[in-house]
């Protein structure tokens, strides 16, 4: 194995990590604003995958329409979950919210299982870009990898501009800083939280499509593991921090891909989670997380 092999693994790792980063953005935004761990986020990815699968394979729609439909379905789903499952629990104990989130995640998985069955669906990739070769054909990078990285860069830039410049984006920042003060300043807290869920879920739909394009099997459990790994990425980068989610996701993707290639493919999950354990042991606030002092 030479340097070029290593480079290929790193590039595919960055691509996998970009997907994690997009998912982690959803986790970290919701965590920053609603202070809750949205366990169902991983399963929204799966719903996004199925929505675009049906739109392309069963209805025969072109891919851009299928992506839009998938995003619309996920956005609606995310907002509805927030409205009916999480909003009534806004003042409840964290344990109750967490158990509800587990319940929602489990519900989505089992509804998908009833509708689509346990047998995997083979997903046709949305990406039509052919494989590119560099350095006299020694380094080949698939089209999906390139598109994934490009899409994630666009999303990161777009999201950062949205949050920094737009009124709703600044409202999100305000709510995550101090819910009560934001409300006093005339920010509609409920609407801002709903907007956060909507954006997070739309990103989850994109992540689902990219994930299924890279690994073209779709089952009701497709979203679960990437969802957990994206959470690891969010913690790694510092939960609540948007640039942290990007860095965490990409680093985690590279770690996972390299350990798959050089150590053992069966142990790669264990290695990813040892990263989480190490981060929690030595720097629980993550790379870019802020240390929060608690006032009594």
């Amino acid at each position: 194995m030479g340097l070029l092999d290593f480079l290929t693994y790193v590039v595919t790792g960055i691509s996998l990590g970009s997907i994690y980063a997009i998912i982690a953005l959803g986790y970290t935004m919701v965590y920053g604003i609603a202070k809750m761990l949205n366990f169902a986020h991983g399963d929204i990815i799966m719903v996004g995958g199925y929505a675009s699968f049906i739109a392309t394979s069963n209805l025969g729609l072109p891919s851009y329409l299928s992506i839009l439909i998938s995003m619309a379905v996920c956005t609606l789903l995310g907002v509805m979950i927030e409205r009916f499952a999480y909003r009534p629990l806004r003042k409840a104990a964290p344990l109750a919210v967490l158990i509800t989130a587990i319940g929602v995640s489990y519900l989505l998985q089992n509804v998908a299982l009833l509708i689509f069955g346990a047998s995997p669906k083979s997903y046709t990739s949305m990406v039509t870009l052919p494989t590119q070769s560099f350095a006299d054909g020694e380094l080949t990078i698939t089209g999906t990898t390139i598109v994934t990285i490009a899409v994630s860069v666009v999303i990161m830039i777009g999201l950062t501009i949205f949050i920094k410049k737009s009124k709703s984006g600044r409202a999100m920042l305000a709510v995550s800083e101090d819910k009560g003060a934001a409300q006093l300043m005339g920010v509609n807290v409920n609407r801002t939280i709903a907007l956060t869920f909507a954006i997070g879920s739309a990103l989850a739909a994109i992540a689902g499509i990219l994930l299924c394009s890279a690994f073209p099997t779709l089952t009701p459990y497709t979203g679960a593991m990437p969802g957990i790994k994206a959470f690891v990425a969010a913690v790694f980068g510092g939960i609540g921090s948007i640039p942290g989610a990007m860095i965490g996701g990409i680093v985690l993707g590279i770690i996972e891909n390299l350990s798959k290639a050089y150590i053992s493919s069966q142990m790669s999950d264990a290695i990813v989670f040892s990263v989480l354990i190490l981060v929690l042991l030595f720097k629980p606030t993550g790379i870019l997380g802020k240390k929060i002092t608690e006032k009594v």
Partner: protein
Amino acid sequence: MDKDKKSLLNRFTRVAPAATTKSNTITYAILIAAFLIIQIMLSTGNISSLWKGLLVPLCIYAILAVSLNLTVGILGELSLGHAGFMCVGAFAGAFFSLYFEKMIPYAWLRFPLALIVGGLVSALFGAFIGVTVLRLRGDYLAIVTLAFGEIVKNIVNILYIGRDSAGLHFSTESKIALNLKEGGEVLVNGAQGISGTPKDSNFYIAIFLVLVTVIVSLNLIQSRTGRAIMAIRDNRIAAESIGINITRYKLIAFVISSFFAGVAGVLYAHNLSTLTATPKNFGYNMSIIILVFVVLGGIGSIRGSIIAAVILTALPEALRQLNDYRMLIYAVVLILMMLLTSDPRIAAFRAKYSPKRLWAARKTGKENL
């Protein structure tokens, strides 16, 4: 003491010592009554083989539910890897029994040792996870235990252990990679798991272990330690300010919880001829099912956990046609229980129409108590 002070005191000592003793007596009475009924049914032969086969699993689920309730109800943290601890205990216990089968031929000695070994190994993992995660605030325990459960299952599936005259051999590749000498035997065979475990579990041991779990849990809850743990759950900052060592007490609860999950696993392993780690027995689903027992039985209620575990294990056997929707129903149960118990209107309704209150009102003849 004037009336105001008294009512204030009552509010803070909602579970008065006399009331807990009474409640505990009810729990023990239910357990003993259940045992006696089953014993009578067994001795008169009034029980079908299907239900007879369910007796040990029922006890296993009861132990799992009670031990998870220590984490969820008493400690107030969410663990999603209870099945993982069960898996660790099952494999450690089964390995111990198989290894010492010839050296300790007596089941009455070997099986209790296996139970302790399984429990301790599981507790060790619990301590490792607890030390890392429990000192942090936030929902990290849920995600780390979830990951732990999945990883344990994966690692067990690629683990090969064999024994020959030179000692133990380990491998994560295959049976052949163990390089066993002639006459060596494979003890843990990767995805095929452990087979030939002595079938030492029976209903009497199982119900005895349920009793032990309940005694330990109830005594823990009422002890100084238990009160410290619940103080942390209710107000971490206040508990810290009166000098309670947060991490230490959290760790105690979590390690005891994982110990009993391991014990349940050993019981499980010795109830089967072949032990394999599949998503069905040690996977995420299993952890969720145990959580549903705890939530439906009432978070923090030991008695409720046992009753919910027994009913929800027995019910699907009785209603086979609902099997496809079982998991879906469990998910809805989790969400609805949380929404309903957190709704202030429902809480007000329950306070107004609770049987205890109505009974007391009738006795004193007063409308507004």
